[in-house]
C-alpha cells in the first residue's frame, strides 16, 4: 500500500526488537470483547484502491454538480467567486507550507510566522483596526467569538444582532452563547437597511452586531451607531462576508467599530461548497488580551535578529484551559495564507481596482436586470450584490434558471422560510468573473421565465 513504507520484513524485525510476536500483541490493552482481528468481517467497506480508481470515482461525483466553471454563476449570500491567481494556488501547495503543523517551534516555522504577521497587518489595514489575529475557523464563528468577547470586555450579557447580519452568522452566534449566561437577540431580516438600531440600545447591552455590506446588499454608515453604542458602554461589532468591499467602501474602523469580523473566503479560495473558509478577526489594541485565537508577534532571537513567534498564549486553551478566551486550537492557517498571498498579489492598486471593477459591473447588471419586466431592484446602495424583487417565488425562478444552465442567485427564502414577504426576493451577485455576455444571458433567461 502506497502510503505505508513498512514491509513484512520490517515488521518482523521491529516486532523482534520490541520483543513481541505480532502486531496484535501491541493492542492487548484494547478490551478483548471489542477488539477487531479481521477488518473484512467487521466493516462493510471497500478495500484499498489505486489513484486512478479514486480519480474516476470522485470525478463522477464532481460531474453530478453544476460547477461555475461551466455555468454562469451569480451566487453570493456570503460566498463569492473571484479569480484565484495561479501563483497563489501553487504557493499554498508547497509542502513546506502545506505539511507543517501550527508554528509552535518558531525556529523551524519562520515562514508561516512571517506570513501570519503580514496577514494580521493586512487584515488590520483593510478593516481599519489596530490589531488582527491569525484567523478563526470562518466568519460565522468569528462573529460568535466577537459576541462572547464583547461580553467579557463589557462584563454584560446582552447581544443584539441586526437584521443586516448573515443569518448563519446570527444563528452561529446564538448557538455559541446558548449555554452561557449571555443572551442573543436577533432582529428580523432588514431588506432595505431601514432598521432602527439606535432605539434599541440600552445600558445592559454588551454589543450590537451589524454587517457591511448588509446581507441584502445595503451599505450603511455606522458612525452614529458606534457613537451611540459607546455612550451606552456597548461595543459595535461589524461583520462582513465580502472583504473585497473594503477596497471601495469606508472601513468599519473608520466608522468606529470595536471589533470587525469577516469571512475571508472571497479573497482566498473558490466557494468550495462553503468551506473551508477563513475567519478574520480584528479589534482595537486595548482589547488585545481579550481576543480569541492565535496571535503572531515580533521579537528577536538570541543573536538579536528580528523574528516571529506565537504570543500572548496565556489567553489560549493550551495554557489557560477552562479560563481561556476561546477553546479554539487549529484555526484556518492555510486559507489565511491564501488570503494574505492574494492580498499581496493585489496590493493597494489591485485591491482597490478589483473592488471598483466589481462594483461597476454590479451597477451595470443591476440596471439591466431592473429593466426586466416585473423585476425591481430593492437595494438602493450595494457593493457587488443586490436584492431583486421578482413577480414569482424566487426559489422557482432559480430552479428554472438552473434548468437553463445558469446559477442565477440565492433566494432569500432559503434562509428565511418563515418570512412569506421574502419569498420573492432574490440575491444576485456580480463579480469580475461575470462577463457582459453572462449578464446578458441572465437577463434573457429571466425575461423568458417571467414572461
Amino acid at each position: 500500500m502506497r502510503y505505508l513504507p513498512l514491509t513484512a520484513d520490517d515488521r518482523r524485525a521491529m516486532l523482534a526488537a520490541i520483543g513481541v510476536e505480532t502486531v496484535e500483541d501491541l493492542f492487548r490493552d484494547l478490551p478483548a470483547s471489542a477488539r477487531i482481528q479481521d477488518p473484512a468481517a467487521a466493516f462493510d467497506l471497500p478495500d484499498h484502491q489505486g489513484e486512478w480508481e479514486i480519480e474516476q470515482a470522485l470525478s463522477a461525483l464532481a460531474g453530478q454538480n453544476l460547477s461555475a466553471a461551466t455555468a454562469p454563476s451569480f451566487l453570493g449570500a456570503g460566498a463569492y467567486r473571484h479569480h484565484t491567481p495561479a501563483s497563489l494556488d501553487y504557493l499554498i501547495q508547497r509542502g513546506e507550507f502545506l505539511t507543517a503543523y501550527t508554528p509552535y517551534q518558531p525556529e523551524v516555522s519562520q515562514g508561516t510566522l512571517q506570513a501570519l504577521f503580514e496577514f494580521q497587518t493586512q487584515v488590520a489595514m483593510i478593516t481599519g483596526m489596530e490589531v488582527a489575529n491569525a484567523s478563526m475557523y470562518d466568519g460565522a464563528t468569528a462573529c460568535a467569538e466577537a459576541a462572547a468577547m464583547a461580553c467579557r470586555v463589557t462584563k454584560r450579557k446582552k447581544v443584539l444582532v441586526s437584521g443586516s447580519v448573515h443569518p448563519h452568522f446570527a444563528e452561529t452566534t446564538s448557538t455559541f452563547l446558548r449555554y452561557t449566561d449571555c443572551e442573543v437577540e436577533v432582529l428580523s431580516p432588514d431588506v432595505f437597511g431601514l432598521e432602527d438600531l439606535l432605539g434599541r440600545l440600552d445600558d445592559d447591552l454588551a454589543c450590537v452586531i451589524v454587517q457591511t455590506p448588509g446581507f441584502f446588499g445595503s451599505l450603511k454608515d455606522y458612525t452614529t451607531l458606534a457613537e451611540a453604542a459607546h455612550e451606552y458602554g456597548a461595543l459595535l461589532v461589524v461583520a462582513t462576508t465580502e472583504p473585497l468591499s473594503l477596497g471601495l467602501v469606508t472601513s468599519p474602523g473608520e466608522m468606529g467599530a470595536d471589533i470587525v469580523v469577516a469571512e475571508g473566503q472571497s479573497l482566498a479560495t473558490p466557494p468550495g461548497f462553503g468551506g473551508p473558509g477563513v475567519g478574520l478577526f480584528a479589534t482595537r489594541s486595548k482589547y488585545v488580551r481579550q481576543m480569541p485565537g492565535r496571535l503572531c508577534g515580533e521579537t528577536v532571537d538570541v543573536d538579536g535578529r528580528r523574528g516571529w513567534v506565537l504570543t500572548l498564549s496565556t489567553r489560549e486553551q493550551h495554557i489557560r484551559r477552562e479560563k481561556a478566551t476561546s477553546n479554539i486550537c487549529t484555526n484556518s492557517g492555510l486559507i489565511a495564507l491564501a488570503f494574505t498571498i492574494h492580498m499581496t498579489l493585489l496590493g493597494e492598486a489591485g485591491f482597490t481596482g478589483l473592488a471598483e471593477l466589481n462594483h461597476a459591473r454590479a451597477c451595470a447588471a443591476a440596471d439591466a436586470l431592473g429593466k426586466v419586466k416585473g423585476v425591481r431592484v430593492l437595494s438602493q446602495t450595494f457593493f457587488n450584490e443586490f436584492a431583486l424583487s421578482l413577480p414569482k417565488p424566487a426559489e422557482q425562478v432559480v430552479e428554472a434558471l438552473a434548468a437553463r444552465g445558469i446559477l442565477g442567485g440565492v433566494p432569500a427564502s432559503r434562509f428565511f422560510p418563515t418570512y412569506p414577504e421574502l419569498a420573492e426576493v432574490l440575491l444576485v451577485t456580480v463579480t469580475e468573473m461575470n462577463s457582459d455576455e453572462q449578464v446578458a444571458a441572465l437577463v434573457a433567461a429571466l425575461t423568458e421565465i417571467l414572461a
Binding site: P46, I54, Q64, T121, Q317, T330, L354, P417
Partner: protein, 488 residues
C-alpha cells in the same frame, strides 16, 4: 538570506494583477466611498512568488522530514487529495446552489458520513465542526441539550489530569464546571477516584483515548458503564483515533460522542495550523441533538441538506443549533474521503497497526538511554520524561531544540503535564524503518552527549536554523502584532 516584510518591499502603484479598465459609471455607494489610501504594499508577481517561496524555505514540514510531534499525528499528506479537492465540480460550486445542481457534493458528504459511522459503529455523525475543539463543542453541546431534554441540570464535567487544554475550555464554554480526575501510577484514569466522584451533578466524563500518555484506557468499557450508571455521558477526545481506527469500534466502548480530526487520522494537511475538520460521531442518546446542517438520503435516492432547525424539528430532531456558516469544511471532506478510499478497510487496519508498531519500536529502542514514563505497549506515541537528563544541565527544551540541528522536527515538549519535562513522540505509520532508525541514532547520540556533560552545546541549539532561540517573553511583554509604517 533575510526576507523583508512585504511592507518593506512596497513601491506605490506596483501590482501583481492586471485588471481591465473601468469605464465611467454612477456608483451606488451611498456616499460611503473610502477616502485615503489603505497602505497595502505593491509588489510585482515575480517578487510575490519569490517572497513566499523564500518564506516556505524557512519552514519544516512532513515533506521535509520526520515530524514526530506527539498527539499531532503528522502523517503523510497525499497529493492526490489536493488534486481531488481542486476538481472544478468540487471546488467551484457554491453552498447555496439549488440542491438539484449539487447532488454529487451531497452524496460525497453522505459517503464520508457512512465511512465514519461504519468505522466507529456510531449511528450518527455531525460533519460541520471545523476542527477538533469545535467537534468537542459539538459533542458537549449535544450532551447539554440531551440533559435539558431530560429536564436535568448537571453542572460538572470530569476530565483526567492529562487532558488536552481544549477539553476544559470547551466544557467551560458550554457552562460546565470542570474537575480533574487523577491518574494511576500506570498512567491511566483512576477508576476508583472516578467512581467516587460520579454523581447526579456530573454531566459528562471527557476522556482522551488512547490518552495523551499514548496509553489505551484499558477500563474504558467499565468507565463508560459507570458514567452511564450515574446518568452522565462519555465524551471521547478522538485526537488519538489514529491508533485504533479499524481496531475497535468506539460504539463498542460505550462512547456517546467523539470528534474525529480529519486533519490527523485521515491525512488532510495541517497547513501550518488549519483548516481542520472535526466531525463528531454521536450515540443514539445524543443523535437527536446533532446540529444543522446535515444530509439525508431521500426515498428517491436523492440527497437533501437540512439547513434549518425548524425543518429538522419538524422531522423529529432537536438540533441544538448551528455551529458555523454554510455546510462544514467540504474541501477537507473531499481530501479525507479520497484518503479513505485509497487506504480502504484493509489499509486503515494496516495503518493503525503500523502506527502502533512504529511507536513501540521507538519506545523499545530508546528506553535504555531515555526514561520512559510508563511501561508499554504504548499505542501511537511514546512518552518519556526528563529523568534521563537529571544533573546534566540539559532541559527538555534544550534537548528538543538540539533535535532540530540533527535534521528533525522536535517532539512535543512538556505535554502531557502529568510527567515532568515530557518528551512525547508520535511517529505515525507513514515513516519508514530507515527514517525511525535515523531518528533513534540521533536521539541516542544526543542523550550520550547530554550525559557526557555537553550542556553548553545544547543551550546553544539550534544553530542551523534561519533564527535561533527567540525571545518569547519579550514578545508577550510588549506585543508587536503588526507592521507599522515608520514615522519619518
Amino acid at each position: 538570506v533575510e526576507e523583508k516584510l512585504i511592507f518593506e518591499q512596497d513601491q506605490p502603484g506596483r501590482t501583481a494583477v492586471d485588471l481591465p479598465a473601468v469605464e465611467p459609471y454612477l456608483d451606488r455607494l451611498g456616499g460611503l466611498r473610502r477616502r485615503g489610501a489603505i497602505g497595502l504594499p505593491g509588489l510585482s508577481e515575480p517578487q510575490v512568488v519569490r517572497h513566499y517561496t523564500r518564506l516556505s524555505q524557512k519552514n519544516y514540514g512532513i515533506d521535509t522530514g520526520f515530524y514526530p510531534l506527539g498527539s499531532c499525528t503528522m502523517k503523510h499528506n497525499p497529493r492526490l487529495n489536493e488534486k481531488m479537492a481542486r476538481l472544478p465540480g468540487l471546488a467551484d460550486i457554491h453552498p447555496f446552489q439549488p440542491e438539484s445542481t449539487v447532488q454529487g457534493a451531497l452524496k460525497l458528504m453522505h459517503q464520508l458520513a457512512h465511512w465514519l459511522k461504519t468505522l466507529t459503529g456510531m449511528p450518527a455523525v455531525a460533519l460541520s465542526p471545523a476542527a477538533g475543539a469545535h467537534g468537542e463543542l459539538c459533542g458537549v453541546m449535544a450532551i447539554r441539550a440531551a440533559l435539558e431534554a431530560r429536564g436535568e441540570t448537571r453542572t460538572k464535567v470530569l476530565c483526567p489530569e492529562s487532558a488536552h487544554g481544549t477539553n476544559p475550555a470547551t466544557a467551560a464554554l458550554v457552562g460546565f464546571e470542570v474537575e480533574s480526575i487523577p491518574a494511576t501510577a500506570d498512567g491511566r484514569v483512576d477508576m476508583a477516584a472516578l467512581k467516587a466522584r460520579l454523581g447526579p451533578d456530573v454531566a459528562a466524563f471527557m476522556v482522551t483515548n488512547p490518552n495523551t500518555c499514548g496509553l489505551f484506557e484499558r477500563d474504558i468499557i467499565e468507565i463508560s458503564q459507570a458514567v452511564h450508571d450515574a446518568g452522565a455521558y462519555v465524551y471521547m477526545d478522538g485526537a488519538n483515533y489514529n491508533a485504533i481506527v479499524g481496531r475497535v469500534r468506539v460504539a463498542d466502548l460505550g462512547v456517546d460522542a467523539m470528534h474525529i480530526n480529519l486533519h490527523k487520522t485521515f491525512s488532510t494537511p495541517h497547513g501550518g495550523g488549519g483548516p481542520g475538520s472535526g466531525p463528531t460521531v454521536l450515540s443514539a442518546a445524543l443523535a437527536p441533538y446533532a446540529p444543522v446542517p446535515y444530509v439525508v438520503e431521500q426515498a428517491d435516492g436523492s440527497f437533501h441538506l437540512v439547513e434549518q432547525v425548524l425543518e429538522a424539528t419538524a422531522s423529529g430532531q432537536q438540533p441544538f443549533g448551528r455551529m458555523k456558516g454554510y455546510h462544514g469544511q467540504f474541501g477537507v471532506f473531499v481530501r479525507a474521503l479520497s484518503y479513505m478510499m485509497a487506504m480502504g478497510r484493509d489499509g486503515l487496519f494496516q495503518a493503525s497497526g503500523d502506527a502502533v508498531l512504529n511507536a513501540n519500536y521507538l519506545l523499545a529502542r530508546l528506553s535504555a538511554a531515555l526514561s520512559p514514563s510508563f511501561d508499554g505497549p504504548v499505542m501511537h506515541e511514546a512518552l518519556f520524561d526528563d529523568r534521563f537528563l537529571k544533573d546534566t544541565g540539559v532541559t527538555t527544551l534544550d534537548f528538543a531544540k538540539a533535535m532540530i540541528d540533527e535534521g528533525f522536527h522536535p517532539m512535543t515538549m512538556y505535554f502531557p503535564l502529568v510527567v515532568h519535562g515530557a518528551l512525547l513522540m508520535e511517529p505515525t505509520e507513514t515513516e519508514s524503518r530507515e527514517s525511525l532508525d535515523a531518528f533513534i541514532e540521533a536521539v541516542l547520540g544526543l542523550a550520550e552527549r547530554a550525559k557526557a556533560g555537553d550542556a553548553e552545546a545544547f543551550q546553544q541549539a539550534p544553530r542551523l536554523t534561519p533564527r535561533r532561540r527567540l525571545d518569547e517573553t519579550a514578545a508577550a511583554r510588549r506585543p508587536v502584532l503588526r507592521w507599522t509604517p515608520s514615522v519619518e
